[in-house]
Structures are given as structure tokens and as C-alpha cells.
């Protein structure tokens, strides 16, 4: 809107100026005209022609008078004649008489006069005697021409009167035009004055509005709780508001005109600040301006540094670009955040302690249990009496129960630590339910309870879910129902509610058992909650079952609920969002194990003798060769010199643990550097497992070793002899690059990349790396190179570093920088 007004004003003004110029030009032109006319009026072109013509008559009369004199003075007569002659010649030839001569009459009369002159001259030129004798002839000629001369003089009068009339008319016309032009000019000036007046009023109005806006702005700035600092494009402070004074402890009048970097930027960030300003001046590149909030550090007058949140914006003014910084002292907030983080860290540490305790305990319990169960399994292969066989069965079931309790505890720990992973696989829900029903039917018969199951509505046999978790939950619910129902009925139904958005599977377990007291119903899914203690003793249980079931159901995205009346029965309902799955083509693949085509050479690294013997027997039972090592160092040495098809590596060992041994094998470049290494650990925590995978191990088997799991590993190994280290380097990808570039160029590139990473790490280690934006930018660049060589872990690590640097998360940045050399050490050997 002001722009259009401005434009309109501009074009109006231009029009006025143009009009004024045209009028002035017209006036100048007319003035020149008038001047010319006036000059013509006063010009001597006419030589007072009128006088000249009348003089002709006078001179003629003078001549005529001489003719009448007696006696005749011939000399005087001749002179008078000559004078008249000269006059007529002048009239005939002079340019001033041109107009006169243009009259037809004039021409004829002049001819007459000329004739008279010629005739008279013939006599006069004859001398005085001739004149005297011919005087009468001269008189006659003179008398004859006299009227003509008179008319000639009069004609002059008429001609010149006419001419001067024309000239006067022209002058009058020009003067009129001049007057009109002047009137137009005055009019234009008047319009101009009105226009300027109006423009002036408008400008005054705008100025008032601007002053008001400025006042408002000043009030806003001065009452702002955030510091507002305005600087010019070279960084000199122009404004420093009261909040800025309060926050930074400087007075506005002291710092105005000083460099902003010297006033509010802490010593250790000045280089980065100066670099940023320089970069902006040279290339116009802006990393902070107009990019929203940035967290930085500020410096108070007393030298304290404190965290600030900064928003920087630029604006164009007549004096050049200015920068407006809004700064907020966030030291309190950061303190609070810090306190929160510390509190959380403490909590996490406590949690970690608990988890560590549990996993250590489970390890300590599992290891002997592993030995026990393994030996029981071996004992079964020997000749046993029937009685011994029965006892062995009890021992085994007791051992497995103990194992399942430990697993329950671990499951809870895992879930609470957020490390419970679920799988997405096709599950035949019908088959799963039927298995459980079959499994529980014995108990149901014992309790004289009928157990039935079926679909309500249209069945959906195959769904995408986690088979084991679901089985665990349903086993628990159905098991409980059967356990707590005597001479009653347990009905299990499955139903799918199909809607456009999602399908929902409801699994209902309804019993006519003892039911649950109301106060207990609310807590039934909590941990360690058991019903009537006496009853509990009768049926057994840790009180963890429903707690685990609820956790699993939640992990699967569903919910579990109970509806119960004491002494009448309970109904448990599990509701899950499901997707329909396609039935896999080959059924029951999981138990299909390929016997080895040829015997594998397996290196077993295990310090515990019992475990070593159990594992050895199991592997040998599958027809493979076992070479033993009693600690990590021994294992690594053997692996360096012999090529194994598979290495089974215990993790917790004296002298050298499994992780270190694995790294040594991988980096040694020895005979077994690429061999598949399977960890054996009693630490079943998911986090531990992923750590092991990161350490270069390919797979994790949990102790106690199960024959099936071991068999699977061995048979996979028989099919795929080697496996690359996908987690660290995607060799497939780097092989593609290698193929595309050729061996030599690839090697060069690898060298350059190595230098790049080394340089980057050196830079990070130096003092220069204070500018987080620079850190982010460089990480990004190196990550890009890492992606080219398929160095996935390095790439991910750098990406994390970049993100942390961008968000100003100093803690993470330092952590990532510290961990970088380790990642690089893992990656580097695999690049060749």
C-alpha cells in the first residue's frame, strides 16, 4: 500500500514536472517570437520607407519648382532632377521596397516614372542650352507625371499601413498566446502547489505514524525480558536494551559502538565468532542469521560465561544491513535440565545396577544349571534303568522349571529396560492355540475340567505377530485357567474384528474357576501378585506370569483385561491389532535341520571345564571336529594359525575375554580372520547381545546351550561357509565401488579416505573444534565419504555426531568424539 502511494506520488510529480517544462518551453518559444516581432517592428528594414516615399514627392516638387523658375538655373535643376532620379532608383532596387513593388499598380506607376525619368534625362543630359530650349517639354513631362508620383507616395502609405496592421496583428496574436501560456503555467504551478501541499500533509502523516511505530518499538524493546542487541554489518553495537544491560552487566552507553564480539562473546568462542562474521562478509553465507534459535554461550561484564539462547535476524536499512539479536539467559533452564539429567542418570544407574545384578545372578545360576542340564542330557544317552530314567525326567523338568523362572525374571528386566524386542513373522494362530490346548488338556482332565477352543466368526488363521511371545501369553492365561478350575469349564475363543483401518484379534479365556477377589482384580497384572497364598502353594507360581503377559501384550501393541467374579469364574481377554499374513509355503521349517555334508573344524574357546565338555560332546555328536582353547589368548593364537570353519567363543574368561579375542582374530589377518564367531554367554540381555555383535561377533548363543540352537548354527555354517562383517562395513557395497573404479583407483581412494578421517580426528582433537556448526558440517562431509565405501558403522556414528552438534548437545558430541577412534579402528582394517 505505501509502495503504490509512493509510486502514484512519483508519477504525479513526474507529470507535473513534464507539464511545467512544456509550458515553460512554450513561453520561451513565444517570448522569442514576441522579441522577433518587436525587433521587426523596430527594425530598420523599412528605413522609414514612408518618409522615403513622401520624400520622393518632395524631391519631385523641388525639381518641378526649378522648372517654374525664371530664369532657369540649369545647374540646380539638374541637381534636383538627379536627386529625384536617385530616389526613384532606390525605390526600384532597394530590398526594403520589395513589398511595395509587389503591388501591381506600383510596378506600373514606377514604369511610368522610369519612362518620365528617361525622357527628361535625355533632355537634361543635353546641357543647359538644351534645357533652356526644351524647358516646355520638360514642364509637360513633369505635369504629366505629377499625379503618378503623388499616387506612388499614397500607395506607399496604403502598403505600409497594411503591413503594419499585419505585424501588429501578429504581435497581438503572439502576445495573446504568451498570455495563455502564462495562464497555463500559473495554473500548473497552482495545481503543483496544491499537490505538493497534499503530499506534504501525507508525508507529515506518515512521519507521525512512523514516530508512533518507533515509539512503540522502543517501548517493546526496552520492556523486553530478552536482551535485544542491534549491530551493524561490521559487528558494532548500535542498540543495547535494558534487558541486555541487566543480563550482561554492561551499560548501553559504554558498549555502543564497540564490537559485539568483544562485549558478549566468551574468550574461547571469539575465534569462531570472528570466523563466522568473516565468512558472512566474504561469501554472504549465513549459518545463524534467520535460522531460528541457537544455543551458545555468552559472557557477562564480570567475565562469567553462561548459556544463552540466541535468535539472530538481519534487516536492510539506509545505513546498510543491521543484525538484531535476541538473547535469553537460559542458565537457570540449563541448570534445571542438568539437574534433571543427573537425576535421570542416577535413576538409570540404579536401574542399571538392578539389571546388572539380575543378569549377573542369572549368569551365576545359569552356568551351573547349564552344566547340570547338559550332563542330564548326556546321561540320557547312557544305559539307564527305568527308575533312573524316571528320576532323570524329574530332574530335567525341575531344571527346566528353574530355568523358566530365571527367564521370567529376565524378561521383566528386559522389558523394563526397554530392551524387549518383538519379532514380526507369520504366525498360524490356530495351530498355536491348538498346541496349547493339547498341552493343557492333560491337566484339564486331571482337574475334571472341560477345555474347548474355537473361532467365533470368520477365522483368520495366519497373522503377523511374535509367535513365542504370543505363545507365552496364551500358555500363561490358559494354564492359569486350567490350574484354578476344578470340575468346571474353560472356553477359549478367538475372534477377529475387521474394520477398514485395522483388524483386531480378541483371544478370550473364560473359566468357571475360583475367580478373583475384586480388590485383587485391579492388581492382578502387577508383579509378584499371587492369589490366596494357600492356593498358590497348591498350584505353584512366582506371581510374575500375568505381569509378563501384560508386558508382552503391551509390547505387541495390544492390551489385556480381566473380568472376574469371585467363586464364579474369570474371563481374560487379549486384544491385539493384527495384520493378516500369507501362509508360508513350506510348513514347519524351524525343526528341519540339515545334517552336515562334511565335518566342520570347530574351535571351542571356553574356560569352564564342565561347559567345555558339554559343548564339545554336543558338537561332536553332530559329527564335527572340535579343537579346544582354555582362554581368549589361546583361542586367538590358534585362530591366527589355523583356518576354522566356526569358532564358539565364551565371553567371560580369564586372561583374555571373548570380545578382545574376537577383535584380535578379526584384526590379525590370520587364517581365521573371516571365520564366523559365535558367542556363548549366560548374559541374555539384548543390550549385551548387541554389544557383542558390535565387538565383531556374528551370533550369540545363550547358555545353557540347547542342542537345537547349536545344531542350527552348525547346519547354517555348513551351508554358508563365511559371512562378512555387515554391521561394520557393507563389503557388498564397497565391492561394487571397487568394481566400478578399478582396483588401483579404489586403493587410492581408500588411502585418501583414510587421510580424510585421520585429519578429521586430528582436527577434532585440536582446540580449533569449538564451533559446533563447523563440527556438524565436517562430520557430514566425512559421513558422505564413509557411505561411499560402505563403512556403515562409521557413517552412522558420524551422523549421530552431526545431529548432536547441530542441536548443541555437548554431552553427546564429546561422547561421540571420544568413541570415534574406536569405531575407526574397527572399520579401517575391513576397508581393504
Amino acid at each position: 500500500m505505501p509502495a503504490t502511494t509512493h509510486m502514484r506520488a512519483k508519477s504525479g510529480l513526474a507529470f507535473l514536472v513534464m507539464a511545467g517544462l512544456v509550458v515553460i518551453a512554450a513561453i520561451a518559444f513565444l517570448t522569442l517570437n514576441v522579441q522577433r516581432e518587436v525587433r521587426q517592428l523596430g527594425s530598420a528594414q523599412s528605413d522609414n520607407m514612408q518618409w522615403s516615399l513622401s520624400q520622393a514627392e518632395v524631391e519631385f516638387l523641388e525639381y518641378a519648382r526649378q522648372l517654374d523658375r525664371n530664369p532657369i538655373d540649369a545647374v540646380e535643376l539638374t541637381r534636383r532632377f538627379d536627386i529625384f532620379y536617385s530616389r526613384i532608383t532606390t525605390i526600384e532596387t532597394a530590398s526594403v521596397f520589395e513589398q511595395l513593388r509587389a503591388f501591381e499598380d506600383a510596378d506600373a506607376r514606377l514604369t511610368n516614372v522610369r519612362d518620365f525619368l528617361s525622357l527628361s534625362a535625355a533632355i537634361i543630359d543635353g546641357g543647359s542650352e538644351e534645357i533652356t530650349s526644351q524647358i516646355n517639354a520638360l514642364r509637360a513631362l513633369s505635369g504629366e507625371i505629377r499625379p503618378t508620383v503623388r499616387l506612388l507616395a499614397k500607395l506607399g502609405l496604403d502598403a505600409f499601413a497594411e503591413e503594419s496592421d499585419t505585424q501588429r496583428g501578429a504581435v497581438a496574436r503572439t502576445l495573446t498566446q504568451l498570455a495563455v501560456a502564462l495562464a497555463a503555467l500559473i495554473g500548473a504551478l497552482f495545481v503543483g502547489v496544491i499537490y505538493l501541499n497534499r503530499l506534504n500533509a501525507r508525508i507529515a502523516g506518515r512521519e507521525r505514524a512512523q514516530t508512533q511505530t518507533a515509539t512503540r518499538m522502543n517501548t517493546v524493546i526496552s520492556t523486553s525480558l530478552d536482551a535485544v542487541i542491534v549491530s551493524d554489518d561490521s559487528g558494532r553495537i548500535i542498540e543495547f536494551n535494558p534487558a541486555a544491560e541487566a543480563i550482561f552487566g554492561h551499560y548501553a552507553e559504554d558498549v555502543t559502538g564497540l564490537d559485539i564480539g568483544d562485549v558478549i562473546v566468551p574468550e574461547h568462542m571469539r575465534d569462531a565468532h570472528a570466523a563466522g562474521m568473516k565468512r558472512m562478509r566474504q561469501s554472504g553465507e549465513r549459518r545463524v542469521v534467520g535460522k531460528g534459535r541457537v544455543q551458545l554461550e555468552g559472557r557477562r561484564a564480570n567475565g562469567d560465561t553462561f548459556p544463552v539462547e540466541l535468535a539472530l535476524q538481519s534487516a536492510e536499512t539506509d545505513d546498510g544491513e543491521i543484525f538484531i539479536a535476541f538473547l535469553r539467559d537460559i542458565s537457570k533452564r540449563v541448570e534445571n535440565e542438568q539437574a534433571l539429567v543427573e537425576a535421570r542418570d542416577r535413576d538409570l544407574a540404579g536401574e542399571q545396577l538392578k539389571t546388572d545384578f539380575l543378569s549377573t545372578m542369572s549368569h551365576e545360576i545359569r552356568t551351573p544349571l547349564n552344566g547340570l542340564l547338559g550332563n542330564l542330557s548326556l546321561l540320557r544317552d547312557t544305559r539307564l534303568s527305568k527308575e533312573q530314567n524316571r528320576i532323570l525326567g524329574y530332574m530335567e523338568s525341575s531344571g527346566r522349571l528353574l530355568m523358566s523362572h530365571i527367564s521370567d525374571v529376565l524378561d521383566i528386566t528386559r522389558y523394563d529396560a526397554g530392551k524387549l524386542n518383538t519379532r514380526q513373522e507369520p504366525v498360524n494362530i490356530t495351530a498355536l492355540m491348538e498346541d496349547i490346548i493339547d498341552n493343557q488338556s492333560g491337566t484339564a482332565v486331571e482337574n475334571e475340567t472341560t477345555l474347548d477352543w474355537g473361532w467365533h466368526g470368520e477365522p483368520m488363521h495366519w497373522i503377523v505377530s511374535d509367535h513365542d511371545r504370543l505363545q507365552h501369553v496364551m500358555m500363561n492365561l490358559i494354564g492359569n485357567a486350567v490350574k484354578f478350575t476344578r470340575r468346571g469349564k474353560v472356553s477359549v475363543t478367538a475372534m477377529v474384528e475387521r474394520t477398514a483401518q485395522e483388524h483386531r484379534l480378541s483371544l478370550t479365556v473364560a473359566d468357571t474357576g475360583v475367580g478373583i477377589p475384586e480388590d485383587l482384580a485391579e492388581r492382578i497384572f502387577d508383579d509378584f501378585v499371587v492369589g490366596d497364598t494357600t492356593r498358590n502353594r497348591e498350584v505353584g507360581g512366582t506371581g510374575l506370569g500375568l505381569g509378563i503377559a501384560k508386558r508382552f501384550v503391551t509390547a505387541l501393541g495390544g492390551d489385556i483385561s480381566v473380568d472376574s467374579k469371585e467363586c464364579q469364574g474369570s474371563t481374560f481377554t487379549v486384544s491385539l491389532p493384527v495384520e493378516e499374513a500369507e501362509a508360508p509355503s513350506s510348513v514347519d521349517e524351524t525343526h528341519h535341520i540339515t545334517p552336515p555334508a562334511n565335518a566342520l573344524r570347530v574351535l571351542l574357546v571356553e574356560d569352564n571345564e564342565v561347559n567345555r565338555i558339554v559343548a564339545r560332546k554336543m558338537v561332536e555328536a553332530e559329527g564335527h571336529v572340535v579343537i579346544e582353547a582354555h582362554d581368549g589368548r589361546q583361542g586367538a593364537e590358534l585362530a591366527a594359525h589355523q583356518a576354522f570353519d566356526l569358532i564358539l567363543m565364551d565371553i567371560n574368561m580369564p586372561v583374555m575375554d571373548g570380545r578382545e579375542a574376537t577383535q584380535r582374530i578379526r584384526t590379525s589377518g590370520g587364517a581365521s580372520a573371516q571365520t564366523r564367531i559365535v558367542a556363548l554367554t549366560a548374559n541374555a540381555m539384548a543390550s549385551d547381545q548387541s554389544q557383542l555383535l558390535e565387538a565383531g561377533l556374528d551370533e550369540v548363543l545363550t547358555k545353557p546351550l540347547s542342542r537345537d540352537a547349536l545344531r542350527t548354527v552348525l547346519s547354517e555354517q555348513a551351508v554358508t561357509p563365511t559371512k562378512d562383517t555387515a554391521a561394520i562395513v557393507d563389503t557388498g557395497h564397497s565391492a561394487e565401488t571397487r568394481q566400478a573404479l578399478g582396483e588401483q583407483a579404489f586403493a587410492k581412494l581408500i588411502t585418501r579416505f583414510t587421510h580424510e578421517v585421520d585429519d578429521f580426528m586430528a582436527w577434532l582433537a585440536s582446540d580449533v573444534a569449538q564451533d559446533y556448526l563447523e563440527v556438524a558440517s565436517r562430520s557430514h562431509k566425512v559421513a558422505g565419504s564413509a557411505a561411499v565405501f560402505g563403512a556403515l558403522r562409521l557413517k552412522d556414528h558420524l551422523k549421530d555426531l552431526e545431529n548432536a552438534a547441530k542441536t548443541g548437545d555437548g554431552h553427546t558430541v564429546r561422547g561421540k568424539i571420544d568413541a570415534l577412534p574406536q569405531v575407526w579402528d574397527q572399520t579401517k582394517p575391513l576397508l581393504r
Binding site: A44, N48, E62, D82, I83, T90, S95
Partner: protein, 171 residues
């Protein structure tokens, strides 16, 4: 001033007399037909307090030529004559008026200041020929009209007297 004193108090100052006599001897009385008579306040005289020229004595003052057009003639013509300044210098006039009269007794005033170097001449030759009375002769005061617009004015044209025969110097 000095010259005037000498003129009025003739015979008092011998020194002055001798000066005047010496000047008078410069211009001989005309031997041919007189064509111009100068009268009035003159430093130099030759006949009865007047200075009379015939064609030869006038030409002897030194002639100049002006090529110019006039409003009375056709085309550009050549006028030859004596600069008016020569006559004014001879008269010793530094200011005042020249009363120039023609044969028909037409008289006009020419300020002495008009008589400048390169200014008006008293012409007696028109394109190399003597001018008869019928051709505005014998003398015609011609200004170099083409040379300057200032000379193409009514005043100058009125001062361009032809058939000139007398000049009276009035101081």
C-alpha cells in the same frame, strides 16, 4: 579644449598659431571640384575656417574598402572611401556630433563616437566606379552592415546618408 582656445584666441599665442598653421598646411585647398566641405569646430582648416576636399585630396587621406550588402542595393558590393575616423581625427573632435548634410539639404546627426577604426567610411567608389548624384554620389556614408548586427539598425540606416556634401563638427 586646447584646440578650441587656440581657435577663439587667434593671434594671442604665437606657439598655438604656428601649430594651427602647420596643421592647415597638411590639407591643400582643393584644386578640382570640391566634393566635401567640413565646417564647425575644426583643428584643421584650409578655406575660410572650413576644410574643403576635392576627390584627390579626400582620397589622399587614405582609403579603405568595405564589402557589404545594403538595404538599398542588390547583392554584396564593394565600397571604397575614407574612414570617417580620419576626418574626425583631422577635425580633432574627440566627442560631440557630426551634422552630415546631403545635396537635398537632408541633414542627420552622427555621433563622433561612431567614427571608429573598422567603422563607417565616406565612400566615393561603388564597385570601383565613381558615383554620380543619380547613383547616390558623390559621397555616401557606408557602415559595414554585414559585419555586425549592431550596424543593421534603423539608427545606423538613417545615418547612412548619401549624396553627402557637407559635415559640420559640433562639440
Amino acid at each position: 579644449m586646447f584646440a578650441r582656445l587656440a581657435h577663439t584666441c587667434f593671434g594671442i599665442a604665437l606657439a598655438l598659431l604656428s601649430t594651427v598653421s602647420a596643421s592647415a598646411e597638411d590639407i591643400a585647398p582643393p584644386s578640382g571640384i570640391p566634393i566635401l566641405t567640413m565646417s564647425g569646430a575644426l583643428d584643421t582648416t584650409n578655406v575660410n575656417n572650413t576644410l574643403v576636399f576635392d576627390a584627390d585630396t579626400l582620397a589622399a587621406l587614405g582609403t579603405v574598402t568595405i564589402e557589404t550588402s545594403t538595404i538599398w542595393t542588390e547583392g554584396v558590393n564593394t565600397f571604397e572611401g575614407v574612414p570617417l575616423k580620419s576626418l574626425v581625427d583631422l577635425a580633432g573632435a574627440e566627442s560631440g556630433q557630426l551634422l552630415a548634410s546631403a545635396i537635398n539639404d537632408y541633414t542627420i546627426e552622427i555621433p563622433v563616437s561612431d567614427a571608429v577604426e573598422g567603422g563607417p567610411i565616406v565612400a566615393f567608389l561603388f564597385n570601383g566606379d565613381r558615383m554620380s548624384v543619380r547613383d547616390k554620389g558623390p559621397l555616401w556614408i557606408i557602415y559595414p552592415y554585414d559585419q555586425s548586427a549592431d550596424y543593421r539598425s534603423e539608427v545606423t540606416y538613417s545615418r547612412s546618408i548619401w549624396q553627402l556634401d557637407r559635415i559640420e563638427v559640433v562639440r
